[in-house]
Symmetry: none
Subunit: 251 residues, 2 copies
Amino acid sequence: MLTAERHDYILNKLRETGIVRLQELVNELNCSESTIRRDLTYLETKGLLKRIHGGAKRLYTVEEELTIKQKSVKNVHEKQLIGKLAASLVTDQDVIFIDAGTTTLEMIQYLPMKKDITVVTNGIHQATLLTDLGIRTYLVGGRLKNTTKAIIGASAIAQIRSYQFNKCFLGINGIDTEFGFTTPDPEEAAVKHAALRQSAHPFFLADYSKFEKVNFAKVCDLDDATIITAGINEKNRSRYQKFTTVLEAKE
Amino acid sequence: MLTAERHDYILNKLRETGIVRLQELVNELNCSESTIRRDLTYLETKGLLKRIHGGAKRLYTVEEELTIKQKSVKNVHEKQLIGKLAASLVTDQDVIFIDAGTTTLEMIQYLPMKKDITVVTNGIHQATLLTDLGIRTYLVGGRLKNTTKAIIGASAIAQIRSYQFNKCFLGINGIDTEFGFTTPDPEEAAVKHAALRQSAHPFFLADYSKFEKVNFAKVCDLDDATIITAGINEKNRSRYQKFTTVLEAKE
DNA sequence: GTGAAAGCGGTTAATTTCAATCAAAAACAT
DNA sequence: ATGTTTTTGATTGAAATTAACCGCTTTCAC
């Protein structure tokens, strides 16, 4: 039994049942407790499951319980640096897409210097803030997702397809050399993908915690977009620069 | 039975029934009283439920947030009465449109009793509140108007035209026997008109201060929709009842 | 009121699960 | 074949989880 085989087995079982017991896995996979423990620990560092006493569970439910406000507390400083750098890339006359999410929210406050821009967004909070700042704002229509306050669904994607953007700024949950850019919700991934395809210059905004993580739904490959980050360690910087452009925001 | 499994079970049951009894859980989960007690205590510290004598209940953070938002609004009491009456007109399986504006906002808090409804809205605040209450919500896309946080424009109208509503609930600024329903912004009037045309039963929500007023842009004639109001005086009631149905909300 | 029943929090001891360590086994490169 | 790295399985004491028990408070019927 190969390591990767066990990992697949565990993830598949998790996807079906939502929860797995360590002892069950020991029986079903015919290996020792230690091995399963190691597997679970590894898969947790990759962000693919959540370990619990006696086994592991899918983190989709956990993801839901975190509200936007709780999330926005994390890595605020890095996100502000990223936001500042991202906003500096926007020039006059630009038509840009800004994704829902906490990281992209940070860039909006730095936008007003750019007098004449048009912004399309699928985030409620983004839209509110943008109009408050007097920026010409279009909100994409469609179904509203409760947890992230993002507009998703076929209608949203159809609308995005009818626009052309100079740049788009997307949030992302996981960045991995093998699996590319990933996010937990397939519908959100589809929206991001649509925006990306309509953009001349697509950017992903991601603080250091997003690297070496994999989520359920893939948006695109690493070389399809530029990464804007901050607080990244030396190892990850050199590793990911081989695959795509990595812009690092500093003080 | 793993800890996390029990927690999920408890929270799900709570979400459905609103209240759980400790002894019920002991039977259903096959574990001791102490264990359930510990679970409930833990979940309470996490802010996921409220312990009560004999079990636990769901907590409504949403209602508390409501009271904060309501402060800067005029004629709150009348608007609440109107909102309650309007919500009572919504039945299971309905697909309804709710307009942007403060009056329509009041009706949303009374909606959750209606289990299975779908709501389309052009108001940012409406959309946020609706999803918080767990109602299936679609936001119309288009340009976002700064002052009222309403979505307007050709794209919004085109989207509304692609839906069919059982009912629509619209706010309005002026009601007059001669000029009908009017509002200051022609673009908002156009959105209201579009929603009205797609609805089997259109309603206008208006407190007493809106009668005998005329604004710039006309939405439709008096007999095109039903009026839901409160605090109206005797003279206006008899006058407007000649033209259309007037529902009056009382204590 | 009064007593019985139900519910409460805290303590305890037994059991299960955990992380860390180490040595054997397997895979790999030279 | 030899040495090196990776993977695995067994063992350990520590930590977490559990059911059962205790004395106390609340609730309810009479």
